[in-house]
Structures are given as C-alpha cells and as structure tokens.
C-alpha cells in the first residue's frame, strides 16, 4: 500500500513538473510567433513604402520630363519608324 502511494506520488510530481515545463515552452514559442508576426507586419509596411517610392519615381510625368529635358529624347518622326512583322505563330 505504501509503495503504491509512493509510486503515485512520484507520477504526480513528474506530471506537475512537465505541465510547468510545457507551459513555459508554449510561452516561449508564442513570443517567437509574436516576433515573427511583427516582423511580417513591418516588412509589409516597408514593402508598401517601397512601392510608393517606386511609383513616385516611375511617374510618367517625371519620366517624360527627364527623357525630354535631361536626356534630350523626342518621339521618332513617322518616317523613322520601321515596323517589323512578327513571324507567324508568335
């Protein structure tokens, strides 16, 4: 009887300690998840800002002005355009 009780006590102790350990692990993993999600949000924000920057830099108004004023480009005259027919099937 006493031996059975001792055995049960031992099992109880092991269970209790493992509950504590797994709870601790769950919290640690959870905080890792939090960090990961925060990083995801931050990257998302950064992506949005980069997209914004890209579309500001690539705005047609700006590209046209640079092409015209800085690079001295102009639309080709009608006679300067040679059109090539794509081979059939393409």
């Amino acid at each position: 009887m006493v031996r059975l009780n001792l055995l049960l006590l031992l099992i109880l102790l092991v269970c209790a300690l493992s509950v504590v350990a797994s709870n601790h692990r769950a919290r640690k993993v959870f905080s890792e998840l939090e960090t990961g999600q925060k990083r995801m949000r931050d990257l998302d924000v950064e992506w949005g800002q980069l997209q914004l920057e890209q579309s500001t830099l690539a705005a047609h108004v700006r590209v046209a002005a640079i092409a015209r004023d800085k690079l001295g480009m102009k639309p080709p005259a009608p006679g300067q355009i040679i059109s090539v027919d794509a081979p059939p099937g393409k």
């Binding site: 579309s55 108004v61 355009i81 059109s83």
Partner: protein
Amino acid sequence: MKSVKFSKSPLLSERLPQWRQRLVLVALLGAFLVLIGRSLYLQAFNNEFLGDKGRARFERVIDISATRGRITDRNGAVLAISTPVRSIWAVPEDVELAPAQARSLASLLELDVREINRKLATERDFVYVKRQLPPDVADRVSALKLPGIHQKNEYRRYYPSGEVMAHMVGFTGVEDSGQEGIELAFDGQLAGKPGSRRVIKDRRGNVVEDVESIRPPQEGREIVLAIDSKLQYLAYSHLKQALAEHRAKAGGVVVLDARSGEVLALANLPTYNPNNRSKLVGAQLRNRALTDSFEPGSTLKPFTAALALDAGKVRFDTPIQTAPGKMTIGSATISDAHAHGVLTVAQVIQKSSNIGSAKLALSLKPEEMWAMFDSLGFGAPLKLGFPGEVGGRLRPAKSWRPIEQATMAYGHGISVTLIQLARAYQVFARDGDLVPLSLARLDAPPLAGKRIFSAQTAREVRSMLEMAVQPGGTAPKAQIPGYRVAGKTGTAHKLEGGAYANKYVSSFVGFAPVSEPRLIIAVMVDEPSNGKYYGGDVAAPVFAQVMAGSLRALGVAPDAPLKPLILTSAEPVREEM
C-alpha cells in the same frame, strides 16, 4: 502568596454546568456552517463574476487593424496605397515640458514652440499635437519619453500619380473611408474590417499567451482598374496643353478599349492634387466626363444616318438636296452656314450638313429614333457606380415636335455625357453592337454585346467617318501618320438660361485603326476662347495626339502606308452648328 499547581487547582474540581459546554460547541459549529456557506456561495454561485474579475487582471483585448486595399492600374502600378503613420496626442494636464524638451519636440514635429504651448493650453483632456507623422520621426519623439505625450497608429492614403489620376481614383477622408471616385465607388471592397483578439499580458505588458481570436481582421481587397497609366498620362498632358492653348474653361478625355469596353483613361480638367486637398474648390472636384452633360452637336449625326441606313430608307450614295442651305420646319428655320447643294448620305456626314441630317431624321418615326438613342445608352446613367453620374436628357418621343426631331439629329435638344458619347461610338468601332463599360480590368473580353445596327451599316458609317477626317472633311487635323482614323467633330453653342449663348463646346469622337478598331477616344473642350472653337481645330488635334501616342504605347500595328499627312492648304470644311 501560596502557590498552587494548575492540575491541583481547586477550580478544576468544581463541576461546570452542562449548558456552557454546549453553548461553545454550538457557537463553533455555527461559525463553521457560515464559513462553508460562504465558500459554497463564492465557489458555486458567484463563480462567474469572480472569474471575470480575475481574468480582467491579466487578460487584455487588443485590436488588430486591417489595412485598406490598394488600387492599381491594369499593369500593377500603384495608384493608391495606405501606409502607417502616427499621430502625436497629449493629455494637457499631464504634460510638463522643460524649455529644452519643448524645443526638441518642436524641432522634431517641425512646429513652433509657441504653437505647441498654445495647443497644450486648452481645457480639454485630449489634443492632437501633430497628425500623421512618418514612423521614424514618431520613434524619435517617443525616445524623448515626455510625460503626457502619447502616440496613436493611423493609416494615411497616398496617391503617387497625383492630379493626373485624381478624378478616377478619388480620395478618402480622415476616417479612411472613400469620399470620391473609385475610393467611394468600391469602398465596400477596399475597406478592411479590423479584428480583435484576447491575450494574456505579463507585468511588463508583453503578450505571453494568445487566449482566443475574437474576430480575425479582414484585409481590404486590392482593386485592379482598367486604367493604363501611360494612356492616362498622355490624355491628361495633351488635354492640359490644349486647354492652355485655347484658353478653355474645362475639358475631358475618355479612352475606351473598343474590344472589351474597358475604360483605359479618363482625364478631366481642372483637376486637383489628392495628396494635398487644402485649397480644393468644387469645380476641381467634378468628374466632368461623367457628371456634366452637354449638347453634343454634330457628333450625333452618324447615329441618325446609321438608323436611316439600317431601316433601308437610304443607301450610302442616296443623293439628298441640301440647297439652298435653309429649311423651314413649322415655324422654325434651320440652316447650314455653307450651302452645299446635292450631297450623298456619306457626304452629309463628311461635311457635317445640318439640313441633310434633318432630312434623314424626318424620314424616320420619332419612336424609332427615341428607341435608338435609348438603346445607345443616352438619357440614363451608365451605372458605373461612380458618385454623381448623370444620364443626360432625352425626352420621350411622344413630346417631340418635328423641329425637335430634326435638331436632335444633329445633337441639339438632347444632352449626353462624354463617357456616354464615347460608349455609343462602340457601335461603329465594333460592327454594330454595344458592350458594357468596365472600370475594373477584365480578364476576358465580353462576348457579343447588344446589337443596335447591322454589321453592314456599321461598316458603311465607319467609312463615312473615315472620310470626315480626310481632306474634304471637317477634321483633317485628327489624322495620324501610319494609321487609318475615323471620327466626327462636334461644335455646339452652350445653353445658358434656356437660350444659346455665344460660348461653345468643341468635341471630337473617333476611333483607330479603322481596319480593326482598337481604341475609341472622345475629347471635349468647354468654352475655348482664343479665337478657334470648331471641334476640328480644338478637339481633333488632342484626339490625334492622344491616339497616336496610345497606339504606339500599346504596340498596335500601323494599317496605313506611311506618308506625309495631307492637311488641306485652305481651311478645312466647316461643320455646321
């Protein structure tokens, strides 16, 4: 004093009365019962309340914000995007700023120290010190650790294409809800729904455990428009040039894909910058192409001619007598400013004769004409979902007098919006049928649309419209090197207070390439006041510039031999008004 041992105390030998013992026992038992009752009450009956109280000490509900969806053009270029910003707010009572602190705060916020002090000198519990700061600046503010100064996360909407796309995209208000344009029309899809979740926080405020998700956040959907930024920029910049050149009050350009009905560009002037709306006035906000109707003038002539052709009343070469340039219907007289003599139906369109169009109209029943205008979409809004869209005016056929039927043939007594006009020209660009317009990009072009005219009629009118832009027509300036172009000018007096004023609306609607129409472009210029006001001089060049640039941008193969344009040395044929 004589000492006595406790056990030998004489008091112990005294027998106590039985009731005293019982009394103590009952009192103790009673106390136990009260304790048991109390614990039973707390554990079993009042459990929920206490549980809530306990949870309230470590659980927190936190909101998860959802971002508003982006708006992009058909090629994925961003037209509207939300990025997080932070607002700095303060509880004035709690704020105690040392002069040095106030100075550093002021320099970070780019405000005056006095302005900050003025804002904080209020009786209210809550004031915004500065709204919508970039996150990196906000981080430096929070690094100052000022008491009573707090931050709030918000989103700000940016419009990289600015005024070029303003009317199409619209904008949102401070509360991030759509106010104009696509932002309003598609608000339900763009707006995200914020969610919330329950978590357990530790003493330092870190989240240690996720209890449950109460409501998952729903991110706003991304809207892909049919707009092509390149075409939009072309339309906007050429319209702007033309408005400056002709000192016009306003203008609009609509570019449609003839095959799919997608709206590829929609530009209006005057416009505004959606990123900075501090000096906004009503006139800038109007999306004229959709919300302002005007009497279109001669651009309606091809429809009457097509109806007469379709009904078999005339052929394209049927002669019509337009001399002597005047015609009396009832008590009113209509006229051509230049008498033309006998014209074929094709020449009536090419030279834009009012008398010829009126005669064609009078050969038709009012009901037939009304039914055609109605099925072309005039008189009722197109229901694109845009705010403030109007349908123009088309009176019921029963109330038409003959003179009205005649003038309607050349676009007076009826009013339309620019986008309705562009859409109606689909019938000529598309072999006689109409497809619905789409603001969003379509993955597959719609199948056959609603048939209005026979394909044969549509092709005949198409070649008449091609004649109109050639030498001998009203709009040689609409020609483009390398492509066959077709179109029709319109010049109308403006109605002011019920009478025609000496102000004009010049318009041009056309499509190219004629061999396989790809784009339909409608141009409207309101009150050109620099001497020229004919559609062929004011609107047609804008059409040609936008069309030439767009066809090149889309890589449409030229369908005409390259040769120098023949612009008539003399003045082009003047259309009639």
